[in-house]
């Protein structure tokens, strides 16, 4: 349990750093952006919006930095993230409608990519030096291509030209959202291409890591022993793979941040109504309260996912329960 406790305290510190950075960045900004931003608001500006902008940049408040910081925490605990400049709605309600899309999309793709990559890597490691090795450079190429580039190419090829998949948006415009079969089916169909893009981009990392661990593992005595006592090959591979997968699981929490970073742009390409799309729109409109809220939510979600991955590792590897090593 000590290991998990240490990880948990790390994430608490990380959350504190992220929140503090989020608070300080607008205050470090030179000039007076408030008038500039108020000019951008379309239509009537509400007093809440002005207040939200003033709080964000610490202008016209007649308060010290420290008491502003305390006030910022107070608002956070109340769940108040300010009011979006362009949308004129509270940031928290904008986020509440976008977060489930992103968590669903990235969650499903990460799990798929991990499972596929681990299986492929185990086989590549076992059949090392065979023709299967030619998969490696191809997978590396897909991994090196930016997510948004791969997404656009996939979108054009399979969506616009071949019409194999529906594109743009998260579900068909002709169905009404709700828990019925038509909507769920449409959801799955529209999710296919974004998921394929993210899996294509991220699978190589898992595959190569697993292959290398597998090759190292195969030379261990317990694998030789398993072969010597006549276990069928399938069982020997499974035996070695179960031991080789541990570093991959340990790396899971590290990789989540990278996958999220890339997947945010996939949303932009496919016009998926998630947090990534929202963030990039907010950046283009210089909607700072929204940018800040999104960054906080992304960071907190990634930290929660990291903690989940750590718990998984803790369950899988009994050694972590006794040793203090992380």
């Amino acid at each position: 349990m000590r290991v998990l406790g240490r990880r948990l305290s790390l994430y608490v510190v990380t959350a504190w750093v992220a929140i503090t950075v989020n608070f300080l960045l607008p205050h470090l900004m030179p000039g007076n952006p408030v008038q500039n931003l108020i000019g951008k608001v379309t239509g009537q500006i509400t007093p809440q919006q002005v207040r939200s902008i003033e709080l964000l940049f610490g202008v016209g408040l007649h308060q010290g930095l420290w008491s502003q910081y305390v006030g910022y925490w107070h608002q956070l605990f109340l769940g108040n993230l300010g009011v979006s400049i362009t949308l004129s709605t509270p940031v928290s309600s904008v986020l509440a409608s976008a977060v489930p899309w992103t968590v669903g999309l990235i969650g499903v793709s990460t799990i798929l990519s991990f499972i596929l990559g681990t299986f492929a890597g185990a086989l590549l490691g076992w059949f090392r030096g065979s023709r299967l090795d030619s998969v490696i450079p191809v997978a590396t190429f897909f991994q090196a291509a930016p997510y948004f580039f791969l997404g656009t190419v996939v979108l054009l090829l399979f969506g616009s030209d071949l019409h194999w998949f529906p594109v743009l948006g998260a579900y068909s415009q002709s169905v009404t959202p709700g828990w019925h079969w038509d909507f769920v089916f449409s959801l799955l169909r529209y999710g296919e291409l974004p998921v394929i893009t993210i899996v294509l981009s991220s699978v190589a990392g898992w595959m190569l890591g697993m292959r290398n661990m597998m090759i190292t593992m195969i030379a261990e005595d317990f694998v030789l022993m398993a072969v010597a006592k006549g276990l069928p090959r399938r069982k020997v591979i499974a035996h070695a793979a179960r031991n080789a997968v541990l570093p991959s699981v340990a790396n899971l929490s590290l990789a989540i941040g990278l996958v999220v970073s890339g997947a945010l742009l996939v949303e932009l390409v496919f016009n998926y109504p998630g947090v990534g799309n929202l963030l990039l729109q907010a950046v283009l409109n210089e909607d700072y309260p929204l940018i800040q809220g999104i960054f906080l939510v992304i960071t907190m979600t990634v930290l929660a996912a990291n903690l989940l991955a750590d718990v998984l590792y803790f369950i899988l590897d009994p050694r972590t329960r006794t040793e203090a090593a992380v």
């Binding site: 992220a18 960045l25 490696i136 450079p137 948004f148 190292t216 999220v260 950046v283 283009l284 960071t299």
Partner: protein, 327 residues
């Protein structure tokens, strides 16, 4: 590990070739460009032809010139970010691994915090607060990218330093009375070279991706030509949907290629560090020439040794000491 020589597998050769090609392009690309990449001298939306190898943009700019010219900005930011991040990771990682104790706790916490915060969203947030002069400054962008990219290297270097710290030769240097700084710089640092090289390549790869992404989103100056800005303009003019693949695809392919080259080089370093991977990476030709079975056999780790002129491979039973390598 006195001489750092990469295994001469096809993967590494291809990697070296690709990276060398783009390194040369970084230097001479802007001179090779047939036209000024910003000049709107030509008819707009031309397809590829003899006079415009990749056609022209909606503004009548030569796309091939933009591709050649953009190599430099892309690579300079990547290299600045890669170098700064590597220096940071050496300082933090080696100090944490060697000094241990409270220093280690603090520095490890610092790098773990930076690892846990998702890099690209942080970059986007910082960048969105930059004034226009900062966004067009390649060095400023490189510095910011390095801030989000150093932690991974620090973690790997710390682990390697910790394993070196208690080796006999370091112990000996300590007993002789060498200073702490001398031990870190002259005893430990040279043995970190493969890990260091691998972390530099990884960080450069990350930086290219991060820079191009920022440019594609429109968060760097759109007047500086790099492969990300090219894709930004292509997307802004709906080039992909209009079938102008020659505008959108070449910069993406270039990015993927240089990334593949860097990753292949990294495989070479992995094989250098872990002899078992080296044996697995041998091509069929070398296997046949040295009388190894075509399929690798269980319980054998062939050792590749270099004699003048050719690679000699001797099949060897793993000895108890060699089974610990990489485990």
């Amino acid at each position: 590990m006195s001489s750092v020589r990469l295994p001469r597998s096809p993967k590494v050769l291809v990697g070296v070739g690709i990276v060398a090609f783009f390194a040369i392009l970084t230097v001479i690309g802007p001179w090779l460009a047939p036209d000024n990449p910003s000049a709107t001298n030509f008819l707009p939306n031309l397809g590829p032809s003899g006079s415009h190898w990749l056609g022209t943009t909606a503004l009548g700019q030569d796309i091939f010139s933009q591709l050649l010219d953009g190599a430099r900005a892309t690579m300079i930011v990547a290299i600045v970010a890669g170098v700064v991040a590597t220096v940071l990771s050496v300082i933090v990682g080696v100090a944490a691994g060697y000094l241990g104790g409270k220093t280690d706790d603090g520095l490890s916490l610092l790098s773990n915090v930076f690892l846990a915060i998702p890099g690209l969203p942080l970059l986007i947030v910082i960048d969105s607060y930059l004034p226009a002069s900062g966004r067009s400054n390649s060095f400023a962008i490189g510095l910011i990218i390095s801030l989000t990219g150093w932690a991974w290297g620090a973690r790997v270097l710390r682990a390697q330093t910790m394993s070196l710290r208690n080796r006999d030769f370091v112990e000996a240097a300590r007993i002789i009375g060498e200073s702490r700084r001398r031990i870190m710089l002259f005893e430990i640092a040279p043995n970190l070279l493969p890990v260091l090289a691998s972390s530099f390549l990884f960080t450069t790869l990350y930086s290219i991706g991060a820079y191009v992404t920022l440019a594609y989103v429109g968060l760097t100056s759109t007047a500086v030509w790099n492969w990300g800005t090219m894709m930004y303009w292509a997307q802004a003019n709906n080039a992909p949907l209009a079938g102008q693949w020659y505008w959108f695809v070449p910069p993406g392919i270039c990015i993927a290629l240089i990334g593949t080259g860097l990753a292949l080089l990294n495989f070479g370093i992995d094989e250098f560090i872990n002899p078992r991977l080296r044996a697995a990476g041998l091509s069929g030709k070398v296997r046949r020439a040295s009388g190894l079975p075509r399929r690798p056999r269980l319980g054998y780790t062939p050792v590749a040794r270099r004699s003048p002129g050719r690679v000699v491979v001797t099949p060897a039973r793993p000895t108890p000491s060699s089974t610990n390598v990489g485990a």
